[in-house]
């Protein structure tokens, strides 16, 4: 699977990519744009990235996780471009022999992705206004 996509994230495909009948626990994280009351009438988010680096960095994160959790299978994907509210912008899938490892590795990957990926988001409001949003 590609680390970046401009299409809706194919969660089932990502899960299939890590599937392994030797694993007992699979943890999936899906991040979507949170719509808080204080945000106002946001209708969509445009995700922009330093694409070459974002793909390389997400690949590095996944490889680092495989070193930390050697029995785990991992996949991850970040969506770019226009993402409607409620649709995921990032997905992380981890399958591991035991659920403790699967939860820990999945949490670690999403935390690192948020900390390290060169990705930015621009909020679009229903009146046409636009605003860069910092995490």
């Amino acid at each position: 699977m590609e680390y970046l996509t401009r299409d809706p994230i194919d969660v089932v495909g990502l899960m299939a990519a890590v599937g392994d009948s030797g694993c007992g626990g699979t943890v999936v994280f899906l991040g979507s744009v949170r719509r808080a009351p204080e945000d106002g009438p946001v209708i969509a988010i445009d995700y922009d990235a330093y694409e070459e680096m974002a793909a390389a960095e997400l690949g590095r994160i996944v490889e680092e996780a495989k070193v930390q959790w050697p029995g785990a299978g991992l996949s991850a994907q970040h969506r770019l471009g226009r993402v409607p509210l409620g649709e995921p912008s990032i997905a992380v899938v981890v399958a591991a022999p035991h659920r403790t490892e699967a939860f820990a590795a999945c949490r670690w990957v999403i935390d690192e992705a948020k900390r390290r990926l060169p990705v930015w988001k621009k909020e679009r409001f229903d009146d046409g206004a636009v605003r860069w949003r910092e995490q």
Binding site: A49, M53, A113, R115, V119, K122
Partner: protein
């Protein structure tokens, strides 16, 4: 002796400066901080860049002290907001 570095700007930095790339010629040896200093003082609107922006060299995170070599790709990154 000088080095040539390609520089990329993203998101709000690209919007603020009205451009997303440029080429810098720097006296060697040079660091990320040296390149940022030159960008801030030579590009139109360059003063809108922070003095110590988040940066990447050749697609890996870098610090202001990271050395630059001829042909490197330097990127200035606004605060990250992925995920």
């Amino acid at each position: 002796m000088t080095i040539s570095v390609s520089c990329r700007l993203f998101a709000r930095y690209a919007e603020a400066l009205g451009r997303d790339e440029c080429r810098l010629i720097l006296p060697a040896p040079a660091t990320v901080a040296d390149a940022v200093h030159q960008l801030r003082h030579t590009l139109t609107g360059g003063e809108q860049l922070p003095e110590r922006p988040l940066a990447a060299v050749n697609r890996e995170h870098a610090s202001p002290e990271t050395p630059l070599a001829d042909g490197d790709e330097l990127a200035l990154l606004p605060p990250l907001a992925g995920g």
